[in-house]
């Protein structure tokens, strides 16, 4: 077991698979349970009548999930500071009970878990508030914005024993699920290099709709790209569960945009390109860019025996290159979901998968796939990369927040 794997969240790495112990004389080996393998394989079927009562906070991104369609979930209450957004949540999830704030909602004893889709700089505070009130939590990305917040989240999670999941969409993009399977099956050979990128022109710009609301700056005004790294880092970490241990990051500026001259983050960079090193000695190139003529989230995985390339906004097709042939067809994974949830609602069809995984983790009383340790392993490297960019690309070490 790798040092960052808890007994509950033991990942079925290729090596872990082969180290399992033989049972009996049948030649069959009994392996430890793996949420990766089970969640990526068998067709979904209802195995429990248990209902998770969830409170949904944040009527922006928060309306794009499927809580009301999951057979094991009931939306107990919703909340947003803005009345129109509260109504939007009530309408989407057909929920009568609404609170004016998260702070009120988490006092409701009927609520088992809270879906926190508030603004990014408040994620850590809100997650901790929920856990301190005995609620399991799923939050939007990133999990946190500072190393101090990361440490505090870890302390609270381990003290309360509650479950946390980060709703990282790249984890359930179908290319990522496929890459995870290929890695488990050893078909990449050694996965020596991965490139990942998240391109979203306009984020952080002063004139962007998302940067201003009702005449006030939002949290996206001048947002440092590497403070939002998880769509990219997930393409490697969610596949191999390696940890990113060092980083050097270079930023580029947008000096003519007020968003990057005066912002809450003292951030001048609109694009950031980072080179990471993993704990297994693999390089990983990761871009997050707000001002580039490309769009979307994609990766390519290069192994010694196989390579896989995601489609891109430049028209690049999906290609899985195996030793003896290339495949251009990506499997679909709808069978992993309850029937009502089998439709695309954004981010590479990942939203219903995130919904299902969090609900089922609570129903089955297990850690979700993107648990707190995975979430911090996806988030913290970006925080350090951002610091590196402020130091002209100095290579910095990335602290671990895994179990000791």
């Amino acid at each position: 077991m790798k040092k960052h794997e808890s007994p509950e969240t033991s990942r079925l790495s290729r090596r872990g698979f082969m180290r399992t112990t033989a049972a009996g004389a049948s030649g069959i080996v009994l392996a430890g349970a793996s949420s990766d393998v089970l969640a990526s394989g068998p067709a979904w079927q209802q195995t429990s009548e248990k209902k998770i009562r969830i409170g949904v906070v944040g009527g922006g991104f928060g309306v794009s999930f499927h809580w009301h369609e999951h057979p094991n979930c009931i939306v107990e209450a919703v909340s947003d500071l803005i009345p129109e957004r509260r109504e939007r949540l009530q309408s989407k999830y057909a929920c009568e009970k609404a609170y004016e704030s998260l702070e009120e909602l988490i006092l409701d004893p009927a609520i088992d878990a809270v879906a926190v889709f508030t603004e990014a700089p408040n994620h850590a505070r809100h997650v901790i508030d929920c856990m301190e009130h005995g609620k399991h939590v799923i939050s939007a990305v990133p999990a946190c914005c500072t190393l101090e917040e990361a440490a505090r989240m870890k302390e609270v999670k381990e003290r309360t024993g509650l479950k946390y999941m980060m709703a990282e969409t790249s984890h359930y993009r179908w290319e990522t699920i496929t890459a995870r399977r290929l890695h488990q099956d050893g078909l990449f050979g050694e996965l020596v290099y991965c490139e990942a990128e998240y391109y979203h022109p306009g984020i952080g710009w002063a004139n962007n709709d998302l940067s201003m609301r009702d005449g006030k700056r939002t949290w996206r005004w001048g947002l440092p790209p590497m403070s939002y790294p998880t769509h990219s880092t997930s393409f490697l970490v969610s596949v191999t569960h390696e940890r990113l241990v060092k980083v050097s990051c270079i930023g580029t500026k947008k000096p003519d945009d007020p968003g990057f001259q005066d912002n809450a983050y003292n951030n001048p960079y609109v694009n950031a390109m980072a080179m990471f090193l993993t704990d297994e000695g693999h390089p990983f190139r990761c871009n997050v860019c707000w001002d580039i003529h490309a769009h979307g989230e994609r990766a390519q995985w290069l192994g010694t025996n196989a390579a896989m390339y995601m489609p891109g906004s430049g028209g690049q097709p999906f290609v899985l290159q195996l030793p003896d042939r290339s495949i251009n067809t990506l499997p679909d994974y709808w069978h992993m979901l309850p029937e009502k949830m089998r439709y695309d609602s954004g981010h590479g069809s990942s939203h219903p998968f995130l919904t299902n995984e969090f609900v089922m983790a609570l129903v089955e009383d297990r850690e979700p796939e993107v648990d707190l340790y995975e979430a911090l392993a996806l988030t913290v490297p970006g925080i350090v990369a951002q610091q590196s960019s402020f130091k002209d690309g100095e290579q910095l070490e990335i602290p671990s927040f895994d179990l000791a």
């Binding site: 069959i28 080996v29 392996a31 922006g60 399977r181 290929l182 695309d344």
Partner: protein, 559 residues
Amino acid sequence: MHFAATALTWIASAALAGADTPADAWQTAGEGAWQVLPGTPAVMWQGSPGVAASAVQTIPGTAAIVWRCFVEPAPTVDSAGIWFAATPDLASGYRLTLGGNPGLGGVQLHDASGTLLWEDKYAPWTYYTPYVLEGVAESGRVRVEVFRWDGATLEAQSDWIDAPGCAPDTMRACGLYAHGIARFYRWEPAVSPLSPIVADSPSKLRLVTSDDTEWTIIGPGEWKWMTPEKKILRQGADVFRSSVVNANLGGSEGTWRCRILLEKGAGGGGLILRTDPQIQTGFSIWLGGNHGAGSLMLYRIPDGQLWCGPQEQWHYDTEYILEGTVKDGKVSGKLMKADGTLVVESPQLDLLEKEKGLTGNLGLMTYIGKGRFWDFSDATRVSEAAATVEGPAASMLGSEWVVSGGVWTWHNEAILQNAREGLAAAVNKAVTGAKGVYSATITPQQDAQAVSLLFQVSPDMKEGFEIRLEKGLLLRTLSGRVLYEKPDFVWTGGTSYLVEGIVVTDRVSVRVSDPAGNVLLKTDDYYVSDTNNTRIGGIGFQTLNGTAEFINWAVRPLE
């Protein structure tokens, strides 16, 4: 073909069977590395690449055997499937597997000696996708079937196959087989099969696998008759290029013809003349060029293009007649509407000296996508029945517009929909974009039940979004999913509204303003598929049971 009720019953019990099977109930053979992953359901994983491995258990009873299992092959697997009605040492028995046609698919039934008993060579399957494989054994005969993961959609099925050595009362070993890496779950014996033998199983409709021995498939693809009558042949796979050639149709000179319909997303497809069994020679008369709005093309195989007609001559999901003629040292092609009206024809081009006097066969081909073909022969003429199939409605607004229903007219710079009853739509193919603001000023008249702005809409109106003023305001996808609804939004007949559909990559929103520019409604963003990031669409209008005026339509960049 669906057998949902049966499948649901089975799946409910199968999970328990799989989860409860102890590891030591299995006996293995071969060089595999089998592992059981506990859970609900348990997963059996054969993780050794390139080796053949079996794991079997003996099931109780003496009656006929039905054995089934989900099988999920890795992309490098040679074959994976199930054993049934076998002896524990696997000296006798039957093995149903996915495989046998590398890179393309295939389903095969072998006996324990390796003799191939039955095959559906072109049955498609996808790696990391679970399929239900089922074997049925009675005394002296066996049959097999493969289902999609829903346990209801039949992918392949054999008839009963004579198996003189099959003795289910004593051959009770059933299990799993993999040559390469594969996963298995929900294995179980059952009382009855998931499906009876059916006349229209995919295996019987699939070209070549059925008794259509005159056809040869070149490359990947799913060539299948659409009905047991075998009238319409469909290539149903999203593959780059796929062709078939018919050994019984052909000749040296003459006119060859087929009816063709290309499905949405296809890059092209058409007719191949005077070709050889491997399609290394001959000519293709095909619909190519712009996808969904392209040209008639004439190619020499393998050299390439001889002639290309104007674009915008063919469209998706529309029936056409393609015709190719080789006569007097010339080759030419012709595209007609379904009723035989000429759309465009090529000039008559000279054959090369070496081509004169050659003979060959008729073929069909698709390019990047799916298509349907029928009435293909060297003798077919336009049938009266087929001629009744209509192409797209002629546009009343000019070539930029695709119109369906209603009475549409120009009024200065505006267009009017004048019909008081029914559903009417008009989509502009020239004003297009991906992300951006799709806007128009819309004036519903007093009589209108509903008036809509369609944005990022495809010409066939299968993709895109609708802002619908009816009882309130509705934003929905053209596939019918409601993104936003405001039943108390009040609009008034005879009043003009600036209606804007805003596409921000994978998020869309709505803004409605009055004539003075006051914003009456602005929604939040709603997440949609991120295929929307780059999808090109146009702007259009729709009315229901009433009249309306539309003006100042535009697609402009995001503010």
